[in-house]
Symmetry: C2
Amino acid sequence: MPKVRIAGFGVSQDGFSAGPNQSLENPLGVGGPKMFGWFFPTQTFRAMHGGEGGTTGVDNDFAHRAMDGFGAFILGRNMFGPVRGPWPDEEWKGWWGDNPPYHAPIFVLTHHARDPIVMQGGTTFYFVTGGIHEALRLAKEAAGEKDVKIGGGVSTVQQYLKAGLVDSIHLAVVPEFLGQGEALFQDIDLPALGFAVTEKVVTDAATHLVLEKK
Amino acid sequence: MPKVRIAGFGVSQDGFSAGPNQSLENPLGVGGPKMFGWFFPTQTFRAMHGGEGGTTGVDNDFAHRAMDGFGAFILGRNMFGPVRGPWPDEEWKGWWGDNPPYHAPIFVLTHHARDPIVMQGGTTFYFVTGGIHEALRLAKEAAGEKDVKIGGGVSTVQQYLKAGLVDSIHLAVVPEFLGQGEALFQDIDLPALGFAVTEKVVTDAATHLVLEKK
């Protein structure tokens, strides 16, 4: 059975998955890139952006698992971009350039309708105004036999978790303290939601934890 | 210079240092003992309670550092016991039996005055109604050249952190999710308070992180 997965989701030791004050200059919020210290050096990340080299090993294995095998992605509006409110024009097409590293349909949660955007490399952005259940229905339909990834950000991940719609979570806990930002575990009771840790692997850059529904 | 230290402080992956619903039966709250999975098996913990054997190695080294070399301890009222409000009598003398494992003066923060209690083995409980600064002044005076430990619980630790009175923190991050309880990092911005990670050692049972003022 295809799964709904959160994967490669970075979180600081003090529980933040993004820094404060997200903006065009700081898409991950101030300090947010620290959450990806385990990810940026990997072969997987470099290849995603057309680069060569990069590390192999545990961090790369988890990076690969966090990007590969998904038939569709769901992103929150704020993860798609810094634009808030109604779309002023058709200019903004995501943070990822003409050929985004998803290569699959992306369903963007928004309150403001917009026509789909076909990008290079198989990525199409669809804008869903019908809420998280509607987005998941569309994503599952598009994904077929493959998994659906809830890509982020924090608010989107929390909404899907609270609704009981997520099967598997991979967190990369980084040895950093952000102090402020978006608190991943705020009002999220993972044991009460039925999750238990099924995998734990530690590297210098992160503690990789996989949680699955019991 | 003697330091004011938090040490051996367990925290779950989702940021809780104690479970909910502390009571006589659950002094650490429901699920709270999971925060001490790294600590209970150690030689240090066993010796504290008159036992023999126990593990040696990294967890034990941190356990030892977390209990040894302190000239005084400060505890919150709720860490001293489950009694709330005015003391009904002189019955309650802490969780730790006749010979508590502190062997030093303990300053208990409370709103309700009470005479000191002299226990066996060098531990005396003093009850301080003058607030955290007063308790720290008394603890430093008692500790002389030795360090003062802010023993807990979460509220006490947070008050001392926010007041900028702590020099060093050792956290034992355990690979557990509590889901609810006392959130250690709630409104605590460690980088803004001047802390940076100076030590990180990982064992099967915990990620030991030491943070010091920069």
